[in-house]
């Protein structure tokens, strides 16, 4: 069994600067993700996506090929689209943290 990780840190102010560019946002986030429209929240989702690209070795433009959703308890989870090959992937998990104007995320993938 293999463990793959990916992590990413984003300055929340950089996401804040994007908030007025709705077309740019549409390239990165699903409508469902834009529902909670705060820079802090979006920065966390952004960091999860970037971490997942790293963990799975995906092309860095796969923003819309995965979605970050929340469990009723508020824990983030990743949903992959069919466009991402998950052959050999057994399980995955992610976590987000915010502090000092930064959002940080880590993604762990288990492969057989």
């Amino acid at each position: 069994m293999n463990v793959k990780t990916g992590c990413d840190i984003v300055e929340i102010s950089r996401i804040e600067a994007m908030l007025k560019q709705s077309e740019l946002l549409g390239k990165i986030f699903h409508p469902s993700e834009l529902e909670r429209f705060t820079a802090e929240h979006l920065a966390g989702i952004f960091a999860v996506k970037e971490s997942a690209f790293k963990a799975l070795g995906l092309s860095p433009n796969s923003w819309l090929k995965l979605e970050v959703n929340y469990t009723p308890e508020g824990k983030p989870k990743i949903i992959f689209s069919n466009d991402i090959s998950l052959v050999g992937v057994m399980s995955w998990d992610c976590s987000i943290s915010h502090d000092g104007g930064f959002a940080y995320a880590v993604v762990v993938v288990l492969q057989d």
Binding site: V10, R14, I15, M18, L19, K20, Q21, S22, E23, L24, K27, I28, H30, P31, S32, E33, L34, E35, R36, F37, T38, F46, E50, S59, P60, N61, L64, K65, L66, E67, N69, I79, F80, S81, N82, D83
Partner: protein, 784 residues
């Protein structure tokens, strides 16, 4: 009684029911609204507002970008006697909340496109949800409701981005209606198409860009984006004749070569550089400059077809009186002038004296009655000898100089005795400031002499949403005295090559550091956010819709250039040729399709379950599984039984559109258009939108290719985006049996029976993710 805005509007709709009132240009779709349709929607929305408990005199805040729905909401509130409070889309959540509590607003209408809407603590009604909400509301009969009285409040317009207490101008039905009527009298009855640019939260756009066109029975085009390149394209494609704008836009449009049918600009909101007016005149575009203020609903004077004097703001409107105070301040009176500021008696008494409104502008009137504006009273600088200096006069001279893009003149100093006249300029490239000062001063009077010129340290001045320079911010920055503005530090020379310049700007390095072979990541240190910004900047400045799936960490500057060139070439290539939709070809296509259906009968027994939508539903998207080349003719055979034969088929670009016979055959017989299976989603969305606009339903196979086993393969994610963005019903279709007749790789069909199952139209949730929609579609078709 005809004399109010609402009755006026109703009458117009009855007079020109089938004329086009609005053209709504979405990113991928284009929709036409007739006057009759606008009237219907306004009636329905009025009833909806009733149902929501809104009554006469309630205040409703509207904070949304310009759109047909903005206009419909305005008209519906007008009809119901609800006072609208329009706010600029860039208002901060704090500001919005302050206005909500100040006005006791009963409602807050906004749009998903407003970035701050999620952060506002007030119940919100989203424009995007309105079409759904109105679907079940019956149309209203004429004369069912009591029209508003002229003296009722129509709207309260707050100045945007202001610091301190927000000041709301109260405008009645009479104020706005009288202003519009005078304007209609002046405008010759020519067929016009307006392109909407200035935010509708400003009176300039409301009266000039909405009420005037409606009163003339003209058309207003609303475009989804305000990016200059996209606007120019919209203007050309929609054959726009007239634009209401601020002078900055005239400057922005200057380099545009092809202007199509553009004939006139209506300009207001800021002083117009005479050279700019001349430039446009030389291109046969007339610039009508007017003068107004929110407090005047907004127009006080304007040039027109019959009287036009360069540099002046035209003649005072009939019915409006203007006189000059002792200090030459313009005072105005008339039916269009507001009665005062909302809940702000102090500001009201300050501005309104003896029935005259003090505009704060200094002006002159010549012998022929033309009004000239010298400048703002509050911008006036009192020089050492007590002379009055209008910064606007000096700025005009500066603007006439080569290489000066814009200029602001400030008086720096605590009192008049040590007042220094300082000019701040935006320059296109490095210039000799000492020489510039000397040159400018020869053209200025002795009390106007500029003592210092500095270059503004960033690429543009701070501006209001209507692109007016926020003079106060510029001057404050200057007078924070010891801040070291490096007077000689001109911005880097603009590179002649736009791609290089944009890459350098986004990477924040000098242009000469950027080579063709520079890698975006390793050489220019662009992380993913910067790469996204690069794409967005390229799209903004070059009008290119880039296939961003092609840009990654291995990309170099020359790769970017290649992509930009490719998009430009792609736009020129006609992907759906004209003949494909022509009447004759459609007729031949129907005939061929009948022949093919007859041919299919020879070996295919067809049964249909579920019902395809009837024609009057309008175009839809059929989403089907795919296992055989027979699938398309089979679906068409199944659809023809219900009479909905106009279908365009999305066909793999790399297979059907390589050229030659296969391409021609698919276009002729199946009305096929190319779909890029590996990525280029923007192109696919554009083509699908175009087909739907032409009234064709679209058939798509989201598996991307024919199944090799007959089992349904996982759907590609793009279908989720397509289904969400196109705004038409999506009909799931399951085809079973063709795999047994003609599987992939086989060329001779066997006999067999086929079932086509149509599912009910899928209602897509606007807030869903593309992934969940894709999966829902896949599941629905599996289970049909």
């Amino acid at each position: 009684m005809k004399s109010n805005l609402y009755n006026f509007f109703t009458e117009l709709c009855q007079r020109y029911p089938s004329r086009i009132a609005f053209i709504e240009r979405g990113k991928y779709r284009r929709r036409i609204w007739t006057y009759a349709e606008v009237h219907e929607r306004v009636g329905q929305l009025g009833q909806f507002l009733d149902q929501q408990g809104f009554t006469r005199g309630d205040k409703v805040i509207l904070c949304a970008p310009n759109s047909v729905w903005w206009a419909v909401i305005f008209l519906a509130c007008m009809r119901r006697g609800i006072t609208l409070v329009p706010l600029d889309v860039n208002s901060s959540p704090d500001f919005i909340e302050r206005i909500v509590s100040l006005t006791n607003a009963r409602g807050f209408i906004s749009s998903r496109a407003v970035p701050t809407v999620g952060a506002v603590h007030a119940p919100v009604l989203l424009i995007e949800d309105l079409p759904g909400a109105l679907a079940d509301i019956p149309l209203m009969r004429a004369g069912e409701d009591e029209p508003p009285r002229l003296t009722e409040e129509l709207e309260i317009v707050f100045s945007s981005g202001s610091t301190g207490e927000p000041k709301g101008v109260v405008l009645t039905h009479e104020n706005v209606y009288s202003n519009m009527r005078e304007l209609v009298e002046l405008a010759a009855a020519l067929p016009r198409r307006f392109l909407s640019i200035v935010p509708l939260s400003h009176m300039l756009e409301q009266t000039g860009g909405l009420f005037l066109p409606l009163a003339l029975g003209a058309t207003v085009v609303y475009n989804y984006s305000n990016r200059p390149r996209v606007l120019v394209r919209a203007s050309l494609e929609e054959r726009v004749t007239s634009i209401v704008c601020v002078p900055a836009f005239l400057q922005l449009l200057r380099p545009t070569k092809d202007l199509g049918r553009l004939k006139e600009f209506y300009v207001g909101g800021a002083p117009l550089d005479p050279a700019l007016e001349q430039f446009w005149l030389s291109r046969n575009v007339v610039v009508y400059q007017g003068y107004g203020l929110t407090e005047a609903s907004p127009l006080i004077s304007t040039n027109s077809l019959n009287f036009h004097r360069p540099q002046s703001v035209g003649k005072v409107l009939p019915g409006v009186s203007v006189r000059l105070a002792e200090d030459k301040e313009i005072l105005v009176q008339g039916p269009n002038i507001s009665s005062g500021y909302y809940k702000n008696p102090e500001a009201t008494t300050q501005a309104f004296k003896d029935g005259w409104f003090a505009t704060g502008d200094i002006g002159e009137i010549d012998d022929d009655g033309f009004l000239f504006i010298r400048g703002r009273k509050k911008n006036m600088i009192v020089g050492p000898s007590g002379m009055k200096i209008y910064p606007e006069d000096i700025e005009k001279v500066l603007l006439g100089q080569e290489l000066v893009k814009d200029a602001v003149v400030c008086g720096i100093g605590d009192n008049s005795s040590d007042m220094r006249i300082t000019a701040v300029v935006l320059a296109e490239q490095k210039l000799d400031l000492g020489e510039l000062a000397a040159r400018v001063n020869t053209q200025l009077a002795s009390h106007q002499q500029v003592q210092e010129i500095v270059i503004w340290p960033s690429s543009d001045f701070p501006r209001t949403p209507t692109k007016k320079v926020i003079r106060k911010d510029v001057c404050e920055y200057l007078s924070e005295a010891d801040r070291d503005l490096e007077p000689v530090n001109a911005p880097p020379a603009q590179s002649a090559d736009p791609v290089l310049a944009i890459v350098a700007a986004v990477a924040a390095v000098a242009t000469d550091k950027v080579q063709e072979s520079s890698n975006l990541v390793s050489d220019l240190h662009m992380d993913s956010i910067k790469r996204l910004q690069l794409i967005s900047q390229l799209e903004d400045d070059l009008g290119a819709e880039l296939d961003d799936s092609q840009i990654d960490h291995t990309s170099t500057v020359s790769d970017i250039r290649r992509l930009v060139l490719k998009t430009a070439a792609n736009r020129k290539r006609i992907l759906i040729p004209y003949w494909q939709g022509s009447v004759v070809v459609r007729w031949i296509r129907s005939l061929l399709q009948i022949l093919i259906s007859i041919f299919l009968r020879l070996f295919q027994r067809l049964s249909i379950s579920g019902e395809p939508p009837r024609l009057k539903v309008g175009p839809v998207i059929y989403v089907a599984n795919h296992a055989s080349h027979l699938d398309t003719p089979t679906v068409i055979r199944a659809l023809s039984s219900s009479g909905s034969r106009r279908v365009a088929v999305a066909a793999a670009k790399d297979y059907f559109f390589k050229g030659g016979g296969r391409r021609f055959f698919s276009q002729l017989v199946f009305n096929a258009f190319p779909l890029d299976r590996d990525g280029n989603l923007p192109e696919s969305l554009t083509l699908i939108g175009r087909m739907l606009d032409k009234g064709n339903s679209v058939l798509i196979y989201p598996e991307g290719t024919r199944s090799q086993t007959g089992a349904i393969k996982p759907f590609k994610n793009g279908i989720g985006v397509i289904a969400t963005e196109m705004g038409v019903p999506v009909i799931p279709v399951k085809i079973s049996g063709n795999f047994g007749i003609l599987p992939k790789g086989s060329i001779v069909p066997k006999r067999g029976s086929v079932t086509v199952r149509f599912g009910g139209a899928l209602r897509l949730e606007a807030k869903a993710s593309y992934i969940s929609i894709t999966k829902a579609l896949e599941e629905t078709i599996q289970n049909l």
